[in-house]
Symmetry: C2
Subunit: 676 residues, 2 copies
Amino acid sequence: MSLLSLNSYAAGRWIAPAGKTVRLKSAVSGAEIAELGSGGVDFQAMAAHARQVGGPALRRMTFHDRAFMLKALAQHLNERREALYELSYETGATRADSQIDIDGGIGTLFVYASKGRREMPDDTVYVDGALEPLSRSGGFVGQHVATPLTGVAVHINAFNFPVWGMLEKLAPTLLAGMPAIVKPASQTAWLTEACFRMMVESELLPEGAVQLVAGSAGDLLDRLTGQDVVSFTGSAATAAMLRGNRHLIAQSVRFVAEQDSLNASILGPDATPGSAEFDAFVREVHREMTAKAGQKCTAIRRILVPDAHREAVVEAVAERLRKTVVGNPRSESVRMGALASLAQRDDVMARVAELAGEARQVFGNGDGFSVADADARAGAFVPPMLFVADDPDGAERLHAVEAFGPVATVMGYRDLDHALALANRGGGSLVASVFTRDPQVARQAVLGAGAHHGRLYFANRDTGKEATGHGSPLPHMVHGGPGRAGGGEELGGIRGVMHYMQRTAVQASPDLVAGITRRWVPGAATLEKDTHPFRLAFGALEIGHTLWTGERQVSLDDIEHFARFTGDTFYAHMDEAAAAANPFFPGRVAHGYLILSFAAGLFVDPEPGPVLANYGLDNLRFMEPVSPGDTLKVRLTAKHKTRRNEEYGEVRWDVGVYNQDGKQVAGYELLTMNAM
Amino acid sequence: MSLLSLNSYAAGRWIAPAGKTVRLKSAVSGAEIAELGSGGVDFQAMAAHARQVGGPALRRMTFHDRAFMLKALAQHLNERREALYELSYETGATRADSQIDIDGGIGTLFVYASKGRREMPDDTVYVDGALEPLSRSGGFVGQHVATPLTGVAVHINAFNFPVWGMLEKLAPTLLAGMPAIVKPASQTAWLTEACFRMMVESELLPEGAVQLVAGSAGDLLDRLTGQDVVSFTGSAATAAMLRGNRHLIAQSVRFVAEQDSLNASILGPDATPGSAEFDAFVREVHREMTAKAGQKCTAIRRILVPDAHREAVVEAVAERLRKTVVGNPRSESVRMGALASLAQRDDVMARVAELAGEARQVFGNGDGFSVADADARAGAFVPPMLFVADDPDGAERLHAVEAFGPVATVMGYRDLDHALALANRGGGSLVASVFTRDPQVARQAVLGAGAHHGRLYFANRDTGKEATGHGSPLPHMVHGGPGRAGGGEELGGIRGVMHYMQRTAVQASPDLVAGITRRWVPGAATLEKDTHPFRLAFGALEIGHTLWTGERQVSLDDIEHFARFTGDTFYAHMDEAAAAANPFFPGRVAHGYLILSFAAGLFVDPEPGPVLANYGLDNLRFMEPVSPGDTLKVRLTAKHKTRRNEEYGEVRWDVGVYNQDGKQVAGYELLTMNAM
């Protein structure tokens, strides 16, 4: 392989290594593989390009436009995975490791593409939470909305996931409508640069949406303001240095951190040797120790097991470790590759020495392990190393020192509370897992350890093969943890998108809230027209278009007829004395479903037209009883429209049913599918 | 008034001033009024007391228990307001000012008490967001939950709202289940201490839930960990110092900041002199300049008006200022009292001198204004001061220097984009207001300025008297802003509670998620019993209790009969050819409401019993068409229970309607009210 020259991509140009350059080496062979250096980059111009070109272009798109863009990007990368796998081997990763990194990153794009279309509007203003009534008569209301920050997101990524690390931050950032500058860790930057290059070459992203710093970030952070975001993944020491940056503090720059974590996995008190849970636990511990050679911020570092089963667990895990072939990740027999660099190997061994003072090593002597198909000294190889702590309560470093490699310690516990207390000794973790089938154990774990963990993962025979793994952050769920883990939150669906938007509390009249959100809200103006709204195509229907129907009286005969027809002979409809004894009714009342059905009879326009189907109904509340002799009348108002495809879109209608006194007896939102 | 000795309240004991004490003076007369000093406080013991006594006691309560506690506390304080008003005069506040502070604080408790019961469960685990399907078959799912942090919340408050400042932070903290240590600003601490004393004497809060530091916070911050929170309101300089604290950074202590803000108010392009909006704008500007003598972090500092109306605005505001009597806040004629201290007066005048270089003073010469019923030199009086900027674009300090008193500057703008750009020059604000009746202006303001503002307040003739005011943070809406405003968020309903809880992503089998959240979820075990679930009292009904009904065939006659009876003769039910042409239907289909009605006929138990009423329905989706000849069958599962009062509670049922092939044709959540 000839030496790769890793370019930065700044203000629309590729910039070759310059200034103080660094040579990167293969983790497997030690051969020089790439060179990088950001001496030629003008960071002020880079930030300005993001703010003046990338941001405005992204903000002109709706959330759905951006979601489609992410989907196309995911498809583009998906077709080019093989080239990335090739480059990934040199980071020490096996094919399976690369799938976590590369396929995992692409999968994150797909999930955000899907969530963007399902959970965000086809608009440029995001509506956050419910309308808040702020006045008695409803003439003044509150609505939280969110709009993209107008600055740039700086993503500072760790070396262990060169692709996933970039894409899991880019997906929510771009969906929010914010441009990003990606600063990968140098050690494995050739893989990030290759994937980044594919994105640029796809021409799927608007100019300025993404830029890359291959090398040091220079003075970039000193260029940031309160409209910018720094999202960091890496060590606690680096995080502390960045957080303490006076300029970032003075400007209240948003800072999201995901740092060290001494994650625990707990074998539940109910999971005895021989149980499916015990076996799943052993498999998972082994997998987490060896996947990515243990270089995962979510890897299991502390293995908490009932005292009685400690030796059984040690033996079962060691048995699996014995069969794990370490070596050249290109070899088919190899299950665990190399650490990312020789420096990383030195660091892991130094940390292991620290741990050794508090635990006995029961597997993986650093000297004299065998390495398949590679030079053990030239590549960054270490064996998996398993420790046992005899005094986990007295230990300090076992709960505080992270050896970022295939290293874990088994600790015995007395009872579940003890196990949770030990898990919490990590001082805040990204994840803890519990292998249990007992819902009470699960609830106790949430109440006893939830505050200390960003994620709690439960596995057992029921989750079986569908379980996604202790160590896999999913785009749907938040990734981050309190305290030692950095206190940040990434991903978590739309929650992760909000880090790149400003939430704004809007207080206004209903008319203005409707204008801002493009949703009709109660109290806003209605448009009454000659045309029945069901006769208007999706595009022609205006928000606020309202139909007031004719009236229909509800007779006692109607109620009795409906009861006999449907079989719903609930006493409140059939028995005057019993109904009157009920705290909510004056006497016999109409069925709620009769009210709904008569309402539909009043507003439905029967002939074929743009309305294709009533496909659902939300937030139905019966507000007042309807007695025999009452007369109903219905208001149907177009509330919100969401395009679904080229043929049709969803229309949400606000429906109010009123009695002869003008009192609302029922309210709901009706969903129809309307042709374009 | 004899000298008040302000005590700290630490670890269950009142502790008199000790060590380096400070004497506080009346803002009105300059007389010494109180003494404080926290030299006798053991901060480590205080933090330990919160963690070991207050936290566990609060966490044993459900969210509803805590909400009832807040309501009782609000009622207790509400009855004792008069005593607080008396003490408030000496801070320089008029009666109207005190109402903002005292009644506003009590009102915040009431709102959180109400939201806690309506929006949080009667449980100790909060369910955050929707269930996330994580596997194809549904055997592995995700659910975010939140539990209280196990540390202590340290509230560092500003001098300007001695009561509201304490209560607006305490309400979400206590509702979350977290104990607090309150550290008021010294200048006005006598009022905070009096209100705090009332809370302790009420005996409504568990021991350790609240503690008070009267004086310096000593080494308290160095005692904190990642399970603790610092919530700060005050100057940007102090915030930067605290944020830069190495210990807080190393421990990833959550830090919420609300600091300086150069808030703008914009007279909309549509709001010409003589319009209701123009008049409302002038009234609001005057009110915001003079309420609390301008000592509000949300006060209007920059008055943005169309160039053409600049002089009209200046004249109208000046006219109102001329009529504003400044002086002893106890006097009935007085509309504006004193600043909180002589030091504050010096600070305001120094800032005014800075502004004067960029703007002309058109009202309120610092010398020679008249002060009613007080000694102008002994008290901290200043006149309202109005400036006009002729070059708002060229100005720097006008957009950056906050004179924390009755000081504002009028600036002309060319068009709305120019106005928004000037508003954004504040570098991040708590609030901007726009006086407009045009929904397009409102939307443009959100898209153009939302990213720079935590709140956008719109007022016009429609919001009229119901509008809550530019400067009033409401507990329902977030309070905070990006950049210069500190980047924090407080309040905002349950959002504000989340600052004191840890969000945890739970991944598990449906059974375990049901056990953790006490809500049945699809895929979780169901309990089938001999008893119809409608025959069980609220307390006896178990989550997961499931009824499978008998079957009912839907005939073409049923459909036609239903159509005639209800009047819903939509073609999809009546016309085979037209229905078949619809993309969603195979031919004529049953009405959705017919399916709902038949489902109720199948599951309803007619005789009087614990089920009192069906009061609503959520998330109804029709999943498959039902054709003539299809047979329906219903599953009714108790999903969640919420006690409402001593007599009854709400039961949420998960309902599935299935056809003869076992395919689900409809799904919804049914709400009933069930007797205890």
